[in-house]
């Protein structure tokens, strides 16, 4: 995984907000997770610029910050799209063909799971069980839930977000 990520045009502005947020945590111990969570809620993801600021403010190594960011699936190293697609691959969805739905999504969007399209419009993630097993396989785009999805329905669903 390289350092290169798609440029977020609003990043400078968000980094300023991160700096402000970090002020209240300077030198504190045991607050790394909380700080990372706040930083991600500001920026949307945790690029190296954010991780460096967190490391400096909390007086921990960048290596420790990166280690923590990559341990928790909640944290993102790359920016998420305007529309965040989560394709459920929990047991019920999986046996109903979620893998094929996911493959079709990758094909239509031209990205792999965990990635974001170059225009920052869509990001694609797989998730485990969203509690709607009766509707398997399930797809969630931001707050919209789609049930009984088949690979062929994928292009149609994506059209709603053009």
């Amino acid at each position: 995984m390289g350092l290169a990520v798609k440029k977020d045009p609003g990043l400078e502005e968000k980094l300023k907000k991160v700096d402000e947020m970090l002020e209240k945590y300077k030198g504190k111990k045991g607050v790394l997770l909380q700080v990372l969570q706040e930083a991600q809620s500001i920026v949307g993801y945790l690029p190296i610029e954010v991780q460096k600021r967190v490391a400096e403010a909390l007086n921990v190594t960048l290596s420790e910050v990166y280690s923590t960011v990559t341990f928790y699936s909640f944290f993102n190293l790359k920016p998420k799209g305007k529309y965040q697609i989560r394709s459920c691959i929990g047991t019920a969805c999986y046996v109903k063909g979620a893998d094929k739905v996911l493959a079709r999504l990758e094909q239509e969007l031209g990205i792999k799971v965990g990635d974001t399209t170059d225009d920052l419009k869509f990001s694609l993630d797989a998730c485990r069980c969203v509690g709607a097993c009766g509707l398997a396989p399930v797809l969630i785009i931001n707050d919209d839930v789609y049930g009984r999805v088949t690979p062929d329905k994928v292009p149609e669903i994506l059209k709603n977000y053009e």
Partner: protein
């Protein structure tokens, strides 16, 4: 101290409260197998090799982190315990790159040894192996994660002992990899090349960059005049690789061994160290008398230098401009020595035998070419030269005593003590005292700056002036000392910093001890004491009395800090980023 009584396998033992089961068992002479445990450095109960049964406890417990309690009953050798350990070890082995006979750690591997001790004769598990990284971009350290067992001993060492912290467990579960951020190479991050991670590694996942082939080739080449210099700390460690006791002094065996290997001349870095004292001692006096930047900080340790460049660039002006002894030696070898012997310097091949992996980086720095060539061609660690000798069938231990060659093999005790923490300071004080006072120093032993305490301080009175000195070794200690100076909590005139704990005797290129042996023996202390014994037995113990150094000044350099000295023996430093840059 509150004491606790417990029984282990039916034997009663009394230990202080807070003791772990592992330590209590050790007191009874019982050996519980460990792998991730590195006393005082990595005590995290991660690998589960040390599990024991504790009566009343729900599951098996990791004895390295489980504190004893009154009346506790522990069983270290039950079928359940033995089976759990075996399963754990087999699982580790099932994801391990088992190329043992060709591994650099063959016969000195804790995983291998444990497999033997636990009687593993087959591995019941097969399956996918983790995606491995082989990172050999650093000139000093190679990472091979196909052999990594995720024990985190290197991580704790890098973060806590060295205060560097450029490697961590990244990602999660089966994908966990010990690596720098973004799985970069060590060469791309602020690693200082100290190699302490290699000493901590129980397996072959971390090793020095092997440069022995380059030396074999040079030794084969009839065109080349191949000379070798050997660092102070190697003479008290190389014998260990040949079955001698830790810290055995083999100063005179080394010339015999290296001649038999085919080197044209065998010289001594101690000569370079004496020369360093001449330059650095006068630099200190100059700064002291002319209001120069103080404290002056020593510059012999390339791990420390790179650390300063990455993490404390505000102290770069405090660093002595003197090159390290190895680099002074190289620059003199390809100029003065070449001239004196009538040898074309392009034909001279300089090999250094160092206790150090950072020296491999140092010799490749662009500043280290003041002879017009790379001043030192190849650096080999103590471990690499021992491998070459073994390959050539030369048993160091059984060789006769021989002397180093003239003129770059002549040295004093002051040069020798560079190998132990505090030694550069002591050597400098011996010379500075006599230069400033014009009187003979009666007691040469500055014992306040000796020993393995992390930070040492002393005040020395010279000509009625009180000189405050401090010594730190291990970079986490260096951090503490520098922060103290930065926050104006202490004022010093002269500071010695060595990158590795114990100084060069504890260098990252030295023979590797198992965690078990490290628990038994403070190898840095033992080797350090040997270094001072070398010093005591030298006829000359002050750098300025070295006749070969005196001759060098007379015939070539003029005087310390002369123009020629500056050209060949001094250098400058470069601020380096603390973090990798985003693209």
């Amino acid at each position: 101290m509150e004491m606790v009584t417990l029984t282990i396998d039916g034997e009663k033992v009394q230990v202080p409260k807070g003791t772990t089961i592992l330590e209590a068992a050790r007191k009874l002479g019982k050996k519980i197998p460990t792998l991730c445990f590195l006393k005082g450095i990595n005590e995290i109960g991660a690998c589960r090799m040390c599990v024991v049964e504790v009566k009343g406890a729900r599951a098996l417990q990791a004895s390295c982190v489980y504190p004893v309690s009154e009346g506790m009953e522990v069983f270290t050798n039950t079928p359940a315990v033995r089976e759990a350990r075996k399963v754990t070890l087999e699982l580790l082995l099932s994801d391990h790159n088992m190329e043992c006979p060709t591994c650099v750690r063959n016969l000195n591997c804790e995983l291998q040894k444990l497999a033997e001790e636990l009687g593993i004769r087959s591995i019941r598990f097969t399956g996918e192996k983790h995606k491995a990284i082989y990172d050999d971009f650093s000139p000093s350290i190679v990472r091979d994660t196909s052999k990594c067992i995720l024990c985190r001993r290197c991580v704790s060492t890098c973060h806590n002992v060295q205060g560097v912290g450029v490697i961590s467990p990244n990602h999660r579960g089966f994908e966990t990899t010990i690596a720098p951020v973004y799985d970069m190479s060590l060469a791309e991050v602020a690693c200082v090349n100290c190699g302490q991670c290699i000493l901590a590694c129980p397996v072959g996942a971390l090793k020095e960059k092997d440069d022995t082939d380059k030396v074999w080739q040079a030794l084969q080449d009839p065109e080349k005049h191949v000379i070798v210099q050997i660092a102070p700390a190697v003479r008290v460690s190389l014998g260990e690789e040949f079955g001698l006791e830790r810290g055995a002094i083999v100063t005179k065996k080394i010339p015999a061994a290296l001649r038999r290997l085919g080197f044209d001349r065998v010289f001594d870095t101690d000569f370079g160290a004496d020369l360093t004292i001449m330059e650095e001692g006068h630099e200190f006096i100059e700064r002291l008398q002319n209001g120069g930047k103080l404290p002056l900080i020593t510059s012999c340790s390339p791990g420390w230098i790179k650390f300063c460049e990455h993490y404390y660039p505000e102290f770069l002006e405090n660093l002595s401009t003197c090159k390290s002894p190895q680099q002074m030696f190289g620059a003199v070898a390809k100029t003065y020595y070449a001239q004196k012997m009538g040898i074309d310097p392009s034909k001279i091949f300089v090999v250094s035998i160092m206790p150090c992996t950072a020296k491999k980086f140092e010799c490749q720095r662009p500043e280290m070419r003041s002879s017009g060539y790379q001043d030192v061609d190849v650096v080999l660690t103590t471990r690499e030269i021992s491998r070459m000798l073994k390959e050539a069938g030369i048993n160091l231990a059984s060789l006769p005593d021989e002397e180093f060659d003239d003129p770059l093999g002549i040295s004093t005790g002051a040069g020798a003590i560079f190998g132990a923490t505090g030694g550069v300071m002591e050597a400098a004080l011996r010379t500075v005292y006599e230069v400033l006072t014009g009187q003979e120093l009666k007691n040469l032993d500055f014992t306040d700056v000796r020993g393995v305490e992390g930070i040492k301080e002393a005040t020395v009175e010279i000509n009625g002036m009180k000189i405050n000195v401090a010594v730190a070794h291990g970079l986490a200690n260096a951090r503490k000392l520098l922060d103290r100076v930065k926050n104006k909590e202490a004022t010093y005139h002269f500071i010695e910093i060595m990158g590795c704990p114990g100084g060069c005797v504890g260098g990252g290129g030295q023979p590797i001890l198992s965690a078990e042996e490290r628990w038994e023996l403070d190898y840095r202390k033992v080797r350090g004491e040997a270094i001072y014994e070398v010093d005591r037995n030298m006829p000359l113990r002050k750098s300025h009395e070295n006749p070969a150094v005196q001759q060098l000044y007379k015939e070539f350099l003029g005087k310390p800090l002369s123009e020629k000295s500056h050209e060949l023996l001094h250098t400058h430093y470069t601020p380096r980023p603390k973090y990798p840059e985003a693209e």
